[in-house]
C-alpha cells in the first residue's frame, strides 16, 4: 500500500457543557485527502483545492502535524499530501483538525500503524497549535477516534472514546461571518463562578451518562452551557433565535460548535434533524444571512479510507 485516499471528518468541539474536553465527529461533511509514499524524505504538500491555503509544509497544519509524526520515527522515505478542502476554515467545525488528523492518520496507516490513536492526537495537536496558537485536542480527538470523545486530561494526554447512541444526529448551520478562534478565546474570562462550574460538571456527567445509556431525554437536558455560551453567543448573529427555534422544532439541545460561528443541534433520528434544519435555516433567511447547513449522523468511525493503492 503506497497511497491512500481518505475522508477526514468535520467535528463539533465543546458540545455545550464540555468546553475544551468534549467533541464529536460528523459523517456527511469532511475533507478528502490523498497521501502517498514517495522516495524523497519529508513532507510535501502538492495540491490544495477548495480553499486557498499555504502549500509550504511548515505553514500548513497538515504539514506540521505530519512532521511531528516523522520526528518520532526513523523513515527513509517521505510523503506527498493532496487536499480537497471541503470544510471551510473559520467555520467552527474543525477544518484545521480534519487536515491535521487526516494527514497523520494516513501516514500511520502507510507506515504499518506504529502509533496508537492517542499518539496521532498528539501529533495533530501540533497542527492545531499552528492554526489557533493553542494545541487543543477537542477537535482532533473525535476526528481520529470517531463518535464522541473526551479529553480527560491534556497533560498527560488522556483521550476517552465515549459510547455514541446510534440514532443521534447533528444539524450544523454555518452563518457566513467570520469569528476568529483567537477572538473567541480572548473574550472568555479566566475565572468562573463556582456555582456555574458545579452546574457545568453536573451537565457533563449527565451527558456522558445519557450517551452510555442512550437516554436521549437526559442527553437533551444535559446540553446546557452556563459558562462559555453566554459570553460567546454574542459574537454569533441571531444565536438566541436559532436556539429557541431549533428547540421548538424538536432538537434535544443546541449550542455553539467549537468557538463558532457555526451553531449545532443534536436530534434523535434523521427526520427530526432535518426538521430542525428547516427551523434553523428559516431564522437566517429571515434576517438575510447566508449560511451553509449540514445534517449528519454522528460518525462513529472517524477517518475513512476511500481508496487504497
Amino acid at each position: 500500500m503506497n497511497e491512500l485516499k481518505i475522508f477526514a471528518p468535520a467535528t463539533i468541539a465543546n458540545v455545550s457543557c464540555g468546553f475544551d474536553v468534549l467533541g464529536l465527529a460528523l459523517d456527511t461533511v469532511g475533507d478528502e485527502m490523498t497521501i502517498r509514499k514517495v522516495s524523497q524524505k519529508g513532507i510535501k504538500i502538492t495540491k490544495i483545492t477548495g480553499q486557498d491555503l499555504p502549500l509550504e509544509t511548515q505553514k500548513n497544519v497538515a504539514g506540521v502535524a505530519a512532521l511531528a509524526l516523522l520526528a518520532e520515527i526513523e523513515c527513509d522515505f517521505g510523503f506527498e499530501i493532496e487536499m480537497n478542502k471541503r470544510i471551510k476554515p473559520g467555520s467552527g467545525i474543525g477544518s484545521s483538525a480534519a487536515s491535521s488528523a487526516g494527514a497523520v492518520w494516513a501516514i500511520n496507516e502507510l507506515l504499518g500503524k506504529p502509533f496508537n490513536l492517542t499518539d496521532l492526537v498528539r501529533f495533530s495537536m501540533e497542527g492545531e497549535r499552528l492554526a489557533t496558537g493553542v494545541s487543543h485536542a477537542d477537535n482532533v480527538a473525535p476526528a481520529l477516534f470517531g463518535g464522541f470523545t473526551l479529553v480527560r486530561s491534556s497533560e498527560p494526554l488522556d483521550i476517552v472514546g465515549i459510547h455514541t447512541p446510534k440514532e443521534l444526529y447533528a444539524t450544523v448551520i454555518h452563518p457566513q461571518i467570520e469569528v476568529k478562534t483567537s477572538d473567541a478565546r480572548n473574550i472568555l474570562k479566566t475565572t468562573v463562578q463556582l456555582k456555574d462550574a458545579i452546574k457545568q460538571w453536573g451537565n457533563i456527567g449527565g451527558l456522558i451518562s445519557g450517551l452510555y445509556t442512550e437516554n436521549y431525554e437526559l442527553i437533551g437536558r444535559s446540553l446546557e452551557d452556563h459558562i462559555i455560551e453566554p459570553i460567546r453567543s454574542i459574537l454569533i448573529p441571531a444565536f438566541d433565535e436559532v436556539k429557541s427555534e431549533s428547540l421548538k422544532a424538536g432538537a434535544l439541545g443546541c449550542g455553539i460548535s467549537g468557538s463558532g460561528p457555526s451553531i449545532f443541534t443534536l436530534s434523535k433520528g434523521e427526520s427530526a434533524a432535518l426538521k430542525v434544519a428547516e427551523a434553523m435555516k428559516s431564522v437566517y433567511e429571515k434576517v438575510g444571512i447566508d449560511y451553509d447547513i449540514h445534517v449528519s449522523k454522528i460518525n462513529k468511525q472517524g477517518i475513512k479510507i476511500l481508496e487504497s493503492n
Copy 2:
C-alpha cells in the same frame, strides 16, 4: 405492613471530581431505623440510641424530612421513628442524610409508594437544610438510589443513577476530629480558575465513563480534584500522607469524603481495599490520631428492609 426496620447507608459525597454533584452509598456502615404507622397524625421521634440527638421533630433531620413528605399527601394517621445511629454526626459520610433518607423512604413504603425516588430526595434535602443550612442532595441521592448517583441539576432536581462496577470497594477512615460542614463550606472560594474547572469536568467525564465501562484504571485516573481538595485538605490532619500511602498501597484514588474529615479511597476488589485500609490506619497510628475505619463494597441497593411487620 405497619412497621419497617431498615438499614440507611452512609454515603460518600463529592468523590473527588464531583463536588456537590456526585455521591455513592456504602454497604457496611449505616443507621438502623424503625418506622411505624400510628393513629396519631404527624411525626413523633420516640427513641434515639447511639448518639445524643434531639427528639423534637422540628429539630431532628429525620423529623423535618418526614414532615416535608407529609405536607404533600393527605394522611389521616401518623408515624413514629426510632433510630439507632451508627454513623457519627460530623464524620463526613452522610450521617444526617441517612436519617433523612431512611425516614422518608420507609414512610413512602408504608404509604404504598406514592412518591418516586426523586421526590424522596427532595424531602430528604429539607433534613439536609436543617443539618447544614444548605439543602444539598449529594448524600441523600446515593442513600436513596444506591450505587453512584449524579445530581445533574438541583433546580429543577434531576438525579441520575450511574452504573456501578461490581468489584468497586471503598475504604473510609474517619479521624476523630471535628470539621463543621459550615466551616468546610465557608473556606471555599466563590470563583475558580477556568483552567481548573476544565480539568474538573474532564475528570468527571472520565469517571462517569469509567464507571459505565468498568474501566478501573480510568476511574483511578479520573479521581482528581483540582478545586476543592487543595483548600479543604488543610483542615484534615495528615491528609497528604494518607493519600500518598493509600495510593502506594494500590488504591485507585483517594479524596475527601464530603466536607471531611473522613478520607475515602476506592479500590478494585475487597482484598485491595483491606490492604489500603492498613496503609491508611498506619498513618494515623504513627501520628497518634484516633480513627474509625470502614471497608465496604459499593451498595447498589441503597436503603434496605431488615424486618417488616
